[in-house]
Symmetry: C2
Subunit: 214 residues, 2 copies
DNA sequence: AAAAAAATACCAGAAAACCAGTAGAAGAAA
DNA sequence: TTTCTTCTACTGGTTTTCTGGTATTTTTTT
């Protein structure tokens, strides 16, 4: 038989750590080698110990999980990082993945899901919990803060802005006066409570309101 | 026992249809009620028949799968659409999902994966095949055009633009002249080959280059 | 030490976006 | 029918971005 899987937990919520530990000690193949409440503690540990997989909270007292994930992977490239978080914002999920995470689980994950995701990740697959798949598929559907209610025309204009069209071009495209487009843009800025199109597009993109442009 | 699951196949490749049919007739819970080689044929069928789930090829002779998916869902909102495709472009996957698909499978899917995805989808979950999860997780890896190489300063300015800061504010924030910021913005626009910050932020957001703003 | 890359800074003008306020017409909902 | 929402359009002015140049200093790489 193979040696046990070594697993570490990095999370500053004692309850979560306790819960995870309980679940995982029931699994004879997995050995929880350490629990850490801060990223720097774990980094120190990692320099002298071998870890197969780490369950990493995205929001820690010292620095954010994205940078930490990158650092972990640079120290120990073969480690699997499974992000574990309450945050269901699409951009956070994407950033963790781009920084080398092997998967992303929301903390409402079930015991079965948790273990199967651990094995999937160790197998080189990408592992998502159910809720995360929802987010990736339909970002706009699951967002905490309410998305402004946009009219049909506003959605069209929003999309065109994201495509880089100027007021004049949008007006031609929609067969209306440029002044009308300006009004729509103004209303969009107001609804999203921002002051320029840069933030408008940032938020709209995060909330999955924009089509992907091939 | 419940009634059988009714399943339809829409694909213009006879071999694929044959293969799917073979696999699925082995499953006693699933009843393949129809195979169609064009979208319009299936739409006609759907008007008079009830279908639980449809395996839908994304590229059909008559029109694309995205619009077809939307039409299917508008006729029969409770139907599950599982996109089945050779196309692994991220934008296609995202658009199918945004048009109401319950999942996306690449045609290299295994028999087990296929059936488990069918059950997941019918269960109201989002179903991806392994390869598709890869695509969703690491868009840049499967992307045709490379991400521009940004300098440290450019990344900072990009982030600040996304946060809605004006040139003057960015200058104060980074302790440089506003003219320097303008140069950086200009270089960013050039590197991304766009003409305004709206498209700049759109692309940067799509590629996960921007931090989440609390 | 030389070359390349990155960060800094400037000028001047054109184009576009942003702000504040107003308002008519069409369509949907009460 | 009246009210509400959406879409439309305007005036007039301010701010910011965008364009096309150029150029010095600092840092990194060869």
């Amino acid at each position: 038989m193979n040696r046990k899987i070594t697993l570490a937990i990095v999370d500053d919520h004692p309850i979560v750590v306790q819960g995870l530990q309980m679940i995982l000690t029931n699994n004879s193949e997995i050995n929880v080698t350490g629990c850490f409440t801060s990223g720097s503690d774990f980094i120190e540990f990692l320099k002298n110990n071998e870890v197969d997989i780490v369950l990493l909270d995205v929001m820690l007292p010292d620095g954010n999980g994205m940078d930490l994930c990158k650092e972990i992977k640079s120290i120990s490239p073969n480690i699997c990082v499974l992000a574990l978080s309450n945050h269901s914002e699409r951009s956070i999920v994407m950033q963790m993945l781009q920084n080398g995470a092997s998967g992303y689980l929301l903390k409402n994950v079930s015991v079965q899901e948790l273990t199967s995701c651990i094995y999937d990740a160790l197998n080189g697959e990408v592992a998502f919990s159910k809720a995360v798949k929802e987010i990736l598929a339909r970002p706009s559907a699951n967002d905490l803060k309410g998305i402004p209610q946009l009219t049909k025309r506003e959605k069209e204009v929003l999309q065109l802005i994201a495509e880089g069209k100027t007021t004049a071009l949008m007006a031609k495209h929609l067969f209306v006066s440029p002044l009308t487009i300006e009004t729509h843009r103004r209303n969009l800025l107001q609804k999203f409570e921002v002051k320029n199109v840069a933030s408008l597009i940032k938020i709209a993109a995060d909330q999955g309101l924009l089509k992907f442009i091939g």
